[in-house]
């Protein structure tokens, strides 16, 4: 084994091993049989994971200022002053990411062996999955924007391929196309952003771009670049308004949803913004946009998740909502919290998806939670792990999600103001509500299904258990100082983000509190109509406002933590009241009837799909057909044919002189000769 710094020369192997696995599965997997395919598929990711762990060990031993390793493989695109080598960058951020990506991928690969065991296209599945991991690792290890873009587009492609994996389903084909095109729309802006960066900085290299961006570009240019990059991130990370592809992407096999559409690919946008944080920092406006988009997304998609009945779609909207949390964290100046939440969310959401996969698998591809019920007695292991995931997800104290979410809420309160904080706290309680709604509806109550149950095998249970462990313990890498922890993750990441961490700008926010409290109260009241648990919130908030001003920073943090924990538990309790407690059984129905407008808005996903169809898809198809029929054929081609036709008809006049009579020709010749002679 290579020791010391030399191990960093093997960095390229981290993405390369999955690539070899993918190539093997692509070229030979068809003949090799399922066993070999799964060994190669899981083995390559496992090796990659082990390698990243070894690298992590050495990396962690380095002094803080040395924790930035660059590895240039070869010159890629070179043209004039445009240079993009294929280089990798290992810094704390990418270190965390590759460990998480390869680790979670490995578990999901193992799970897939069980989940996909009976599928005809086993090799193809693992080919795509390995290829995806290759691109994802390239994305996070990239040392310049163009290499990042390779991974960025590559994961999009794999996502497309895997969404359309069961290609015989029309909906799968449609969802794949939608996912690719919508994210591609975001990528278009991202590509423009990359070009703009090149034109401004003369380089695409992360280290030179982020070294001192403030000296090269002004605020307005930074805003432009940041916003272009952010639109790319919005597309990839399914934020409002480009989020519509993610729920449809649930057509993919469930492990894929867990890996790509929950744990890794969709978080690439968060990673990107975190990576480009030095540019975002230059432009307060762009950070505000990030925060607002994140907040809106978190809120909107949480409302949709409240009412959905498809287990995977609930989780999909939940993913969108949690990604919104991460963007909010980025926007309010807490990139460390965002990455922390990214990690804990990856564990918890992968766990939830895999658990739901086990349920779906058990019930023969049933996804409607109304047709489940009472499952906890039949698949207890799944139930148990799923519940852990749900607890971690909703932010119940002690589990992973709690710490990261709390960090976000705190940063929001300090930098974003109480209004944002209030909204995100409501969202947090909705999170508790909808995750436990799944549990209470699907795992409790009476049995509403009658199929032969396939209990999940060992290959499926093992990853669930491991992920559950991670979901429990994952939060302890970032226990905040107030709770006596040392917040290792922020410390570890701090070289990347510099001084971007929350530096308690309490003073500024205190000034706004009095005003904001009133506004907050009003908005809370409105929001409460949409979310039934609003009353509790309003009380909670009122309490905070009054006391918050006199609080010292530390006790404020404690209080906020308490509030969010109470809110999360409140959401869970409400779900219990609605779906388990016999007295509250008919409350959901009554509520949906009472707030019919809100209900239909929520169930239809705020009508984004319908809007896009009416505004973009249909007009585009009509326009292309119009151009084809009315412009290309009717105008342009007709002009061409008109020219040719007029020449032809002109040509039809002359043959009239051609009688075929020899003496007529002779006469004409003689006449011609006479004319020429006369002319001379």
């Amino acid at each position: 084994m290579v020791e010391g710094r030399e191990i960093f020369n093997l960095l390229w192997l981290v993405p390369a091993i999955p690539l070899f696995g993918a190539l093997f599965n692509c070229l030979l997997g068809y003949r090799a049989g399922n066993l070999v395919v799964s060994i190669v598929g899981c083995g390559s990711i496992g090796l990659s994971f082990l390698l990243s762990l070894c690298i992590f060990r050495v990396f962690y031993g380095l002094p803080v200022e040395d924790r930035q390793i660059e590895l240039c493989l070869f010159q890629w695109i070179v043209s004039g002053d445009f240079q993009a080598p294929l280089d990798l960058l290992l810094d704390p951020l990418s270190m965390v990411m590759i460990t998480m990506v390869s680790g979670v991928s490995f578990l999901i690969h193992v799970y897939s062996v069980g989940y996909m065991a009976n599928d005809k296209c086993f090799a193809r599945y693992f080919f795509y999955l390995n290829l995806f991991v290759f691109f994802m690792l390239t994305l996070v290890l990239a040392g310049n924007f163009l290499v990042l873009y390779i991974g960025w587009e590559g994961v999009g492609l794999c996502s497309y391929l895997l969404i359309s994996f069961w290609y015989e389903r029309r909906s799968a084909a449609a969802a794949g196309l939608k996912a690719f095109v919508v994210t591609r729309f975001g990528d278009f802006f991202f590509a423009l952003g990359i070009i703009l960066i090149f034109l401004q900085f003369g380089s695409l290299h992360f280290c030179s771009v982020f070294a001192n961006p403030g000296e090269v570009i002004g605020v307005s240019m930074a805003t432009w670049i940041a916003l272009l990059i952010f639109v790319g991130a919005v597309g990839k990370s399914a934020q409002v308004p480009l989020h519509t592809w993610l729920p449809d992407a649930m057509e993919a096999p469930t492990p894929v949803s867990a890996l790509i559409h929950a744990a890794t690919m969709v978080t690439a946008g968060v990673y990107l913004v975190a990576r480009c944080y030095p540019i975002f920092e230059l432009s307060p406006f762009s950070l505000q946009v990030v925060a607002i988009v994140g907040l809106l997304t978190a809120f909107i998609s949480a409302t949709v998740a409240l009412v959905h009945t498809d287990i995977k779609k609930i989780l999909a909207f939940s993913t969108i909502s949690q990604l919104g949390h991460m963007f909010l964290a980025l926007g309010v100046g807490a990139p460390g919290a965002a990455i922390f939440h990214l990690l804990t969310h990856a564990f918890a959401k992968a766990l939830l998806f895999l658990g739901s996969g086990a349920v779906i698998h058990a019930l023969n591809d049933e996804m409607d939670i109304r047709k489940m019920g009472g499952l906890r007695r039949y698949i207890p292991a799944t139930f148990f792990t799923f519940t852990i995931g749900a607890l971690a997800m909703s932010g119940v104290p002690g589990l992973a999600g709690f710490f990261s979410k709390d960090a976000i809420l705190y940063a929001t309160f300090v930098n974003g103001g109480p209004l944002m904080w209030a909204l995100i706290v409501i969202t947090a309680s909705m999170t508790g509500f909808y995750t436990f709604r799944i549990i209470f509806v699907a795992f409790f109550g009476v049995k509403r299904w009658d199929v032969h149950l396939h209990a999940p095998g060992k290959a499926m249970i093992l990853p669930l258990v491991l992920l559950a462990l991670l979901a429990i313990t994952g939060g302890y890498m970032g226990v905040p100082h107030v709770l006596g922890g040392s917040d290792r993750i922020s410390e570890f990441l701090s070289p990347v983000f510099g001084n971007a961490e929350v530096h308690g700008s309490l003073g500024s926010s205190v000034e706004g509190v009095a005003l904001a409290a009133e506004e907050g109260g009003v908005v809370e009241g409105e929001a409460a109509e949409g979310a039934p648990q609003g009353t509790e919130t309003a009380e909670g908030i009122a309490g905070v406002w009054e006391t918050g001003i006199q609080m010292s920073e530390k006790s404020l943090e404690m209080l906020l933590m308490l509030v969010s924990a109470v809110m999360a538990l409140g959401g869970i309790g409400l779900a219990f009241y609605f779906y388990v407690y016999s007295g509250g059984r008919d409350v959901p129905t009554r509520l949906s009837e009472k707030f019919r407008v809100a209900y239909s808005i929520f169930t239809n996903g705020w009508y984004f799909d319908a809007l896009y169809k009416a505004v973009f898809v249909d007009p585009y198809m009509k326009l292309s057909t119009f151009f084809l029929k009315a412009v290309d054929v009717a105008v342009i081609d007709n002009i061409v044919r008109g020219v040719a036709g007029s020449l032809l008809s002109a040509g039809n006049i002359l043959p009239g002189l051609q009688l075929g009579v020899v003496r007529w020709y002779a006469t004409v010749m003689v006449l011609g000769a006479i004319i020429i002679i006369l002319y001379i």
Binding site: F82, Y149, I150, E168, R169, F185, L192, D637
Partner: protein, 525 residues
């Protein structure tokens, strides 16, 4: 014997030509032998091209391997050929694509297969001649020679509506090139009037001072000839018909090669011969290119015929290439040349796949296809690969060209860059939608499943696929050699323009005055 003393360029032109003649005259009756001979010759040209590539000096932007001898000394026409970084790859890709065309039509049935192969060789000779010619008259001869095999390839072995398509192709392109012939002669005589020497040699014709009142019609004639061949919007309608009716391998050649000649000729002849015109006319050309770019992409989405769809995709891509040429910076031209190579491979690959589908299904109508993946996973895999490459996935070849063109366009104007880059969304829409309609969903009931690719077909598709990956991952092998030539070309264009500007000779051209206001190649900051 010292290999380096061979007149390698002449061998490259003459070998296929001689092969074609031999097949026409001697081997016509023996189908197998003539196929074999043709194939061997085309492989031999590939080897020669690779040899040329290895001996090519990447640092030198000038013409290399120059051969020059008198042809018609009385007229000042000479046999003058040479290769630089731009034409090198055109020649290489031509040899490769012709070989692939032969492979892909190996089991084509029907009369006169020997002639088919003979014409393919003749086409190859004509194309290589175009790319190597340094003499305007010689160039014109090859330019027209190429049409003859095209005429027969489409007219004899084409689809149902082939007569119309051939006639349109020939008359359209020939009409445009006649305009060019007139312009060539005009240039020839003006050169004599100014310098006192009759010559067709472009190295001598570069920088000929031409009175502004004749410059415009002259340059326009050249431009139209090249634009028709490219084809640039709105001169593109022949292409869709020719594509739709072409035999599979013929179609490979049209997409890959025929249309590349137009863009190549713009680079080699229009830009250095009429630098002032090119610069001042650039905004209009760029507008046409951008329209072609988006328009082609939009129309492709509305197509129901597979081959027409890909033809419109070519229109769209060619728009990008021409945009790259007319932004006059090194990224643009690098990207344009790279893109030409890449389009040949990607569109060629798509066409071959479509041909293989057609061979099994007998239809190119998308609405009658669907669900092909189930029966033919390997074919579907290749189809996906070429679709993805055309969409511009980084790591594959199209991306490099596209991205460089975007960068080049952005440098000149934000508007150009944004409009051009938007095509990446539209491309994804029409190509993936096509893939969906052809490959995905459930297949209609069929008596017997269509068989998947044979070994030979797999090999045929693997070759371009490998090249696409190699030059996508390591584009430096191309870019290193293109760049010196591109820089030299740019130097020529800009130097000439500067000189002309100082002389103040161009005042009468309104466009030129506009040009001076548009400061080119200034990074947008």
């Amino acid at each position: 014997m010292d290999v380096s003393s061979w007149p390698i360029l002449s061998v490259l032109i003459l070998l296929p030509a001689a092969g074609a003649v031999f097949i026409f005259v001697v081997l016509q009756q023996n189908e197998f032998l003539s196929k074999l001979l043709a194939f061997l010759i085309s492989v031999e040209t590939v080897v020669l091209a690779v040899f040329l590539f290895r001996r090519f000096d990447p640092a030198d932007g000038e013409m290399q391997f120059v051969e020059k001898m008198d042809w018609i000394p009385e007229f000042g026409a000479s046999y003058h050929v040479g290769v630089d970084g731009i034409s090198l790859f055109m020649v290489m890709i031509t040899t490769v694509m012709v070989t692939l065309a032969m492979l892909s039509s190996w089991d084509q049935k029907g009369r006169g297969q020997a002639l088919f192969y003979g014409f393919l060789l003749l086409l190859e000779a004509g194309l290589i001649g175009i790319f190597l010619a340094m003499d305007l008259l010689l160039f014109y001869v090859f330019w027209e020679v190429m049409l003859i095999p095209m005429y027969f390839l489409i007219g004899v072995w084409g689809g149902a509506n082939r007569r119309y398509a051939t006639l349109k192709l020939i008359i359209y392109t020939m009409g445009a090139s006649l305009l060019m012939l007139v312009a060539i002669l005009a240039l020839y005589f003006y050169h004599h009037a100014q310098v006192g020497e009759y010559t067709f040699d472009i190295t001598k014709l570069y920088g000929t001072p031409i009175p502004p009142e004749v410059l415009l019609p002259m340059a326009l004639a050249f431009f139209v000839a090249f634009a028709v061949k490219s084809p640039l919007f709105p001169f593109h309608t022949w292409l869709t018909d020719a594509h739709a009716e072409a035999p599979v391998s013929g179609a490979v050649d049209i997409t890959g090669l025929l249309i590349k000649t137009g863009a190549y000729a713009l680079l080699r002849f229009l830009l250095p011969l009429f630098p002032e015109f090119s610069m001042s006319f650039a905004p209009i050309v760029v507008a046409m290119a951008l329209i072609a770019n988006l328009y082609g992409a939009m129309l492709a989405a509305a197509q129901n015929d597979l081959k027409r769809l890909i033809a419109y995709a070519s229109v769209s891509h060619v728009g990008l290439v021409i945009l790259g040429i007319f932004v006059f910076n090194v990224q643009g031209i690098d990207g344009a040349v790279f893109m030409m190579v890449s389009i040949a491979l990607c569109s060629g690959g798509l066409f071959m796949v479509v041909g293989m589908i057609y061979k099994r299904s007998g239809t190119k109508d998308i609405s009658q296809l669907g669900g092909l993946w189930k029966d033919m996973p390997v074919l579907a895999g290749f189809f996906m690969f070429f679709v993805v490459a055309s969409v511009g996935l980084p790591g594959l070849s199209n991306f490099v060209g596209e991205f460089l063109i975007f960068v080049g366009a952005f440098k000149v104007s934000v508007l150009y860059g944004v409009v051009a880059a938007f095509v990446m969304v539209l491309t994804a829409v029409y190509l993936l939608w096509m893939f969906w309609r052809v490959m995905l969903e459930k297949a209609p009931e069929r008596a017997t499943p269509w068989r998947d690719l044979s070994m030979a077909e797999t090999v045929t598709l693997t070759i371009p696929a490998i090249i696409v990956v190699v030059i996508g991952v390591y584009p430096k092998i191309l870019l290193d050699r293109i760049e010196p030539s591109a820089l030299k070309l740019l130097g020529q264009v800009k130097k000439e323009t500067a000189q002309m500007d100082d002389l103040g000779r161009w005042k009468s051209l309104r466009l030129v005055e506009r040009l001076k206001e548009v400061k080119r190649d200034k990074p947008w900051r």
